[in-house]
Structure formats: C-alpha cells, structure tokens
C-alpha cells in the first residue's frame, strides 16, 4: 500500500506520543524502585549509594507483616465468597429466562457503573451502625459489592458457550445434580472461574476507596496503609515509603503476571467483551 507523506507524519506523531507516555510511565515507576534502594538521593540523577536497609525499616515501621496478612485474608475471603455467590447466579442467568431477570441484571450492573466512593459512604455508614465498620468482616463485605457482579458478568458469556446438550446427555446417562456438577460442569467451568477469580483478586488488592472507607486501624490492606504512609510523608524517610510501595508493586505484579497468562488484559479494565 502506498503511503502519503501526511499519513507518515501523522503515524510518527502518534507513535511519538505513545512512546512519550510509556517512557514517562516507566520512569515514574522506576523512580520509586530506585529511591527505595537509595542511601541519600538529593540533587542528583542517581542516589549517592545503594542499600537494602529501607526494606527492613519499612517492614518494622509500617507493621507490614500484619498488613500483608490482613491483605491476604481479605483478598482470599473476597475471592472465595464472590465465587460462591457469583458462579451459581451466573449459571442461573445464563441458562434460564425467568420473570424479573432484567431487574436482576440491572441490580448486578449498577455497582459496576456507580463509582465506589458514591455507594461506599452510605455502605460505610450502615456498617458502622451495625458494628461491622472498621472490622475485617466489614472490609470483606464492602469489597463483595463490586466483586460479585464482576464474577457474574465475566461468567455469563462463558457459561452460555457451553452446549446445554452436554448436561442433558449426562442426565440421560443417569447423573444426578451432584454428579452432573462435579463431573461435568466443574471441569468445563474451571478455566472461566479461574480467570474471573484472578481478575477479582488483582482488582481487590488494588481496591482503595471501599477499603479506605470501611477499614479500621487493624483491618487496613496494603494499598490503604500505603496511602496513609504517603499522606503522612515527612514523618518518615521517603525511601522507607518507597520501599513499602515497591513491596505493594511486587505483590500486585506477581498476581497480574499470573492473571495475564489466563485472561485478556482488557478484561482488567471492564467487563469481558465478546467471548470468542
């Protein structure tokens, strides 16, 4: 195909823009990493010398052991509960047409369209009045609100593409509901469930607003602890906060890399698009 000069200029301009964005993005992340290993870093391109001591400092100052434990407990509970509530609901919505289905779908879509701050504040109010505010149970409940709809919306197209005749065939050969579930549905659904749950996991680790509004001092997750550390910066050395940020990045990126092996990156952004 012949390309005109204008076309080439336009293309160059766009790729320059993309390149500029990515270079700045990587440098921004790089600054945090470099700073976390720096002894002193003032008025120069690179730090005076390198050290690992900020990691030990951050670990002790911010009680990162406890924070990490809380984070994993919250995330695992959210992942497990969204699977328990979300997958059966997705199965019912994919396989049956019933009165009120549109209403149920609307109820599932709304928490994904309304931003967390808007519903998080009334939700936190209710949680504090029932005595769950500030507790780990409260944080888990709040995080279920966007997670369950997410699992349902990712799973529905996945379940729809499984041929119902496979289930019918199992019934013909005498399988009861229990055996049908264990021997037919579970193996067929496993890849979809895993993809959905990995996405929930990555999103819950990074979910700031809801956890921020509902967590107390003992139920903070890593991202909320990081926020408070940056918010109160000046109290502690910058490098120590950066070390904590690198630990947060490490935790997130490990799961992101695992997730990316099984899912389309764009699924992290929104609902799954067309399946197949």
């Amino acid at each position: 195909m012949r390309r005109t000069l204008i076309d080439r200029l336009w293309s160059t301009a766009l790729w320059t823009l993309v390149g500029f964005f990515i270079v700045n993005l990587l440098a921004l992340i790089g600054t945090v990493v470099v700073s976390s290993f720096a002894t002193r870093w003032l008025r120069s391109w690179l730090p005076a010398d390198w050290t690992l001591r900020w990691y030990a400092a951050a670990w002790n100052e911010f009680q990162l052991g406890d924070v990490l434990l809380t984070t994993f407990q919250v995330v695992l509970a959210v992942v497990a509960l969204s699977a328990i509530f979300g997958v059966p609901a997705a199965y019912a919505l994919a396989r049956r047409d019933f009165p009120g289905k549109r209403l149920a779908m609307l109820l599932l879509l709304l928490p994904m369209l309304v931003p967390p701050v808007t519903y998080g504040i009334p939700l936190a109010t209710v949680l504090y009045q029932t005595g769950l505010g500030g507790s780990m149970a409260g944080v888990i409940l709040a995080n279920l609100v966007p997670s369950i709809p997410f699992v349902v919306l990712v799973m529905i197209p996945f379940i729809e593409q499984i041929d119902p005749r496979i289930e019918a065939a199992a019934r013909v050969f005498g399988a009861g509901t229990g055996r049908l579930f264990v021997h037919v549905l579970l193996p067929l659904l496993a890849p979809g469930v895993m993809a959905a749950l990995l996405l929930v996991l990555v999103r819950t680790i990074a979910m700031f607003e809801l956890t921020f509004l509902t967590a107390g001092p003992t139920s903070q997750t890593l991202v909320v602890a990081l926020y408070y550390a940056v918010f109160a910066s000046g109290v502690r050395a910058v490098q120590s906060i950066d070390a904590m940020a690198v630990i947060y990045m490490g935790v997130t990126l490990v799961w992101l890399l695992i997730a990316l092996r099984f899912v389309n990156p764009t699924q992290l952004v929104g609902r799954s698009k067309r399946s197949g």
């Binding site: 700045n24 992340i29 509530f85 019933f98 009334p122 409940l141 990074a206 700031f208």
Partner: protein, 289 residues
C-alpha cells in the same frame, strides 16, 4: 398442572433459585445502604427536612466542589478520549499488541495511590522529569507540577488514558475491516473513510467509553489529596463527602454529599447517553449472507 410445573414453564425452577443468594446480598449491601443514605440525608442534625441540601448549596465550601470536580473530570476525560481514538485506530493494525497492552494495564492495576507516590518523586522539583527538561534546555528552573491542579490532572491522565484507550481499542477492533475496505474500493481516502464509515460505527461505543471514563475521573479521591491541593484547587466532591463522614462523623451530611455526587455525575452520563440515543446503533460486524 401442579404449581411447580406452572412455575417451571415460566422458567422458574431449582436452577433459577441459584440467583437468589447473590441478589439478596446485593440488596443488603448495595440497595439498602443507598436507600438508607437517602433517608438519612433528609434527617440533618438541625432537624429540618432539607437542612443538609440547603447547607450544601449555601456553603461555597461544599457547593464549589461540584465545579472543582467538573473542571478536572470533563477536560481530562475528553483529552483521554481524543488521544485514545487515533492511537487505537493505529494499534488495531499492529500484530504484537499484547506487549503494549500489558504495559498500559500497569498503571490501572497498580492504582492511583501508587501512581501518586511515584508522581511525588518523578514530577517533584528534583525529579527526573524536571532534570531532563532542564538538560534539554526547555526550562531553566525546576517546574512544580505536583500539589496543584496540574498534579491531579496528570494523575488522571496517567491512570485514565490507558483505561480509555483499552476500552476504545475493544470497540475499534470490533469493527469488521471489510466495511472499511468496501469504502476504499468505492474510492474513499482515509479521511473520508474515517468520517463516513468508522466514526458513525464507533460513536455509540465512544459514548459508553466517555461515560465510564468520566465516572472514574469524577470520583477521584486519593490523587486529589496526595498530588493535589486538597484544601482549595482540587477539593473535589469526594473529599467533601469523606471529610463529613470520617472527620466530622456527620453521616447524614456525608450521605447527602455522596448522593449529590451521584446525581451530578449521573446528569453528565445521562446527557452523553441521551446524545448516544440519536446515533446509529446497528451491527458493526460484517453481516453474513
């Protein structure tokens, strides 16, 4: 027919009931708090019915947050969309998209708190950004980009552009290339193909992208505090809601602010979707046969 068979004929049987636990939980954790917040907003401390709403619209400290938030969210969303569209149209022809997409998923996954922390270093007076510009001779003294409107604008660009781009890309790749080729066969150049083939097919999707990106930008909280000027230029509406709830323990006022926040952003989203209703919404994939 038994009543059970009659229900089954309408699609209600054991499998249908599986939807109930999820729906019940969401009613409890989403619908009920919303209604309770609405109820609470009409029960202000002073005892009047509309006291909280009157306080919000009388006090410039509250009222101005709407304007402050709009002033940030609207330009950023439009800029993100304007950048994302031409880039997505280029990237769709690219074979190795996955690496680019993976890099762009990074800021979304890491979240606004980490991006803000990085920005404090990177865009700070001694950061690499200012240093590079000074080395290139673009500026003579370090620029101050954080702790201001610009800081929050940049943070919304860094996390918002990838989000907008990935959504736009998914719409762009959903258009059958044959439609554009048909336009080319009939003698349309790139500009006319974009104007008369791609744009009409894309606009409904772009309207949805605008809404989702706008909602994200409108509810900005951590970066408005960390890299902004949270007492003045970037005192966005979510900061006002948060302060009422956590710092003043005035849950009625906090719910009022949250509801006004929801209503104002819904007004913009409603407007965008209303405009979308005027557009063509047919299949963008090639028709079979």
């Amino acid at each position: 027919m038994t009543s059970r068979e009659r229900l089954a004929a309408r699609g209600v049987d054991g499998v249908t009931l599986l939807v109930l636990p999820a729906v019940a939980l969401l009613v409890l954790l989403f619908v009920y708090p919303f209604l309770y917040g609405l109820f609470l907003s009409f029960r202000p401390k002073d005892g009047s019915l509309l006291g909280n709403y009157a306080r919000f619209f009388d006090d410039p400290f509250f009222r101005d947050t709407i304007w402050v938030t709009m002033r940030l969210a609207l330009p950023v969303t439009l800029l993100n969309l304007l950048l994302a569209l031409p880039i997505a149209l280029r990237v769709r022809h690219l074979r190795r998209q996955r690496l680019l997409i993976t890099v762009l998923v990074l800021p979304i996954t890491l979240g606004t708190v980490l991006v803000s922390e990085g920005m404090l270093n990177y865009f700070g007076p001694q950061g690499w950004f200012s240093r590079t510009l000074m080395l290139l001779g673009v500026i003579s003294a370090p620029v101050k980009l954080v702790q201001s409107y610009t800081g929050v604008f940049l943070s919304l660009l860094i996390t918002g552009f990838p989000f907008t781009f990935l959504l736009t890309l998914s719409y762009v790749t959903g258009i059958d290339p044959a439609l554009e080729q048909a336009g080319a066969t009939l003698g349309a150049g790139p500009a006319r193909r974009f104007r008369h083939v791609l744009l009409p097919l894309l606009l409904p999707g772009l309207a949805i992208t605008f809404c989702l990106s706008f909602v994200q930008a409108y509810s900005v909280l951590p970066s408005a505090v960390l890299v902004g000027d949270p007492s003045r230029a970037t005192r966005v509406i979510s900061i006002a809601a948060y302060q009422a709830a956590i710092e003043e323990y005035d849950y009625a006022m906090a719910s009022t602010v949250a509801l006004i926040m929801g209503a104002t952003q819904l007004a913009v989203v409603g407007m965008a979707l209303g405009l979308r209703g005027l557009l063509y919404r047919g299949p963008a994939g090639g028709a079979k046969g």
